[in-house]
């Protein structure tokens, strides 16, 4: 059993590494007590759910089962958690309301997209990746990040961005979603080609940026100080 996992890891080292590197921000958030801040609590939940999803995908890949169903389900979950982080970061109540609506709307949209992409929803073996939802998720997250950057520039309350935890989190997410946004719609077709279609290096790039994203999270959490949070 263990050997098959190990063999698979050796065959696909980068996706595996991107799975396990998620542990780093999780451990850091817990040891540095960053979860006291609601934003980082959500980041913790996001990282945990990402770790679980990746592990499930890893497991089904080893068993040569279709893992796409996990991928599809993770989309609305990830979006809710990430958008929730921005909910706590924005001060304007209009933005907050907008984020809540977008979470609700996206949930409905993702469910529609999953059922739209799969005529037979219970047929897990031939499950296909969503067509729009992952791309829309990426666009929404990038928009949120850009809006947040705009607010940072406008409010001028952070003297040094390099020691500001959430800036690292945003940068990591921005890089990851930018690298993934064009791959996401292709996955729908790639999976339908019965995995013959290997996207090659183009598929590896998002994995690399997933790793970078996790590292950015870690740097951000590393700069988090519970004392500062208490003072706010």
């Amino acid at each position: 059993m263990f050997e098959t996992y190990f063999a698979y890891s050796l065959r696909k080292p980068i996706p595996c590494f991107s799975t396990f590197i998620t542990l780093l921000p999780i451990v850091l958030i817990i040891t540095r007590k960053a979860y006291l801040d609601p934003t980082f609590k959500l980041l913790l939940f996001y990282s945990l759910s990402k770790l679980i999803t990746d592990l499930l995908i890893f497991d089904s890949a080893v068993r040569q089962q279709n893992s796409i169903v996990y991928f599809n389900i993770s989309i609305p979950v990830f979006y809710s958690l990430l958008a929730g982080m921005f909910y706590f970061k924005f001060s304007s109540s209009i933005y907050k309301k907008g984020i809540l609506y977008s979470i609700g709307g996206f949930l409905v949209f993702a469910i529609w997209d999953i059922s739209n992409s799969n005529l037979e929803i219970t047929d897990f073996q031939n499950h296909r990746a969503v067509l729009f939802a992952k791309t829309v998720e990426g666009v929404l997250i990038i928009v949120l990040i850009l809006m947040y950057f705009y607010e940072i520039i406008n409010s001028l309350v952070i003297p040094d961005l390099l020691t500001f935890p959430f800036f690292w989190v945003c940068s990591g997410l921005l890089l990851y979603y930018s690298s993934f946004i064009f791959i996401a719609p292709i996955l729908h077709y790639a999976a339908s080609w019965k995995n013959i279609q290997d996207l090659g290096i183009a598929r590896t790039v998002p994995y690399i940026f997933e790793i970078i994203c996790a590292l950015f999270f870690s740097v951000g959490v590393y700069h988090f100080s519970a004392d500062d949070y208490a003072k706010q």
Partner: protein, 287 residues
């Protein structure tokens, strides 16, 4: 198969372009934020300087006004009083010759009153404009000030300066220190009901250190600042210090009394020659 190969490349290029944009975005935010922060800091600096200039001007015009009043007192009232004294002297000779005892007494009384008034006017003029300070420097001026206070009150005031001789400081700096000492000592006399006051002045190459210590009732500087008890005196000290980048701390030692601790950085002496005694005649606006 050819098609899918091309598709891969297209995907890779698109992703790279997107990443490039993300990267530029992050750098831009960092750069722009930094620049705005620096700008903000510069504006603050300018504002601070401007405020300091305003304060400086206000204090300058106060000093100028004092001089004008002193000059008027000296020139007009002083002269008239001298003339009055002269006339009274003549009159007294006449009274001595022809008048009776009672007239003589009144005469003498008026004479001594005029004389006293002349003395008072002279004292007020000298208080208004510290001429000793301008001519002989800080040590002399403080010494004289202390001496005069000791005469009138049952007070022990000690004044120590180290080193005993130090070079003249800039005129403005000397005046600032002098006025601060004046206010601190006056406060101690007015509010502290103390029996002794120690003034310590230390000057080295970079710092001027002033300590004024009394053994009176003492006061809590924070409370004074919070409540509206703070009169013009303590505020005046702070605004004078703001101009020369100085700081002041008040302490309340355990054993009673109060302590004021002033620090001022030494400034290079720029205009070492004292301002003429009639600055109001060639008024300068330095904005």
């Amino acid at each position: 198969m050819q098609n899918s190969e091309e598709l891969k490349w297209a995907l890779l290029i698109a992703s790279m372009a997107m990443l490039m944009m993300a990267f530029c975005m992050i750098s831009f935010v960092m750069y722009y934020q930094k620049r705005r922060f620096e700008e903000e800091k510069r504006i603050n600096e300018i504002e601070k300087n401007y405020n300091r200039l305003l304060l400086d001007t206000a204090l300058n015009s106060e000093e100028t006004e004092r001089r004008r009043i002193a000059q008027d007192l000296h020139d007009d009232i002083g002269t008239m009083l001298s003339l009055t004294k002269l006339s009274l002297n003549q009159l007294s000779k006449m009274v001595e010759n022809y008048g009776n005892e009672k007239d003589d007494q009144i005469m003498r009384k008026s004479q001594s009153l005029v004389e006293e008034t002349i003395l008072h006017v002279r004292r007020i003029t000298r208080d208004l404009v510290p001429t000793t300070l301008e001519r002989f420097g800080l040590l002399e001026a403080v010494g004289e000030f202390v001496h005069k206070l000791e005469e009138g009150n049952k007070l022990a005031i000690s004044f120590h300066a180290s080193p005993e001789e130090f070079p003249r400081q800039g005129q403005k700096l000397e005046l600032t220190i002098y006025r601060i000492i004046q206010e601190l000592v006056n406060n101690a006399i007015k509010h502290a009901s103390c029996s002794r006051i120690d003034i310590n002045l230390e000057i080295n190459d970079v710092l001027i250190d002033l300590r004024v210590i009394d053994n009176g009732v003492g006061f809590d500087p924070d409370k004074i600042k919070e409540s509206n008890l703070a009169g013009l005196g303590l505020l005046g000290i702070e605004s004078r210090l703001a101009i020369v980048n100085g700081t002041v701390q008040y302490e309340k030692p355990e054993k009673g009394g109060s302590r004021a601790f002033v620090q001022i950085p030494v400034m290079p002496v720029s205009d070492s020659k004292p301002e003429p005694l009639h600055p109001f005649r060639r008024e300068r606006v330095n904005i």
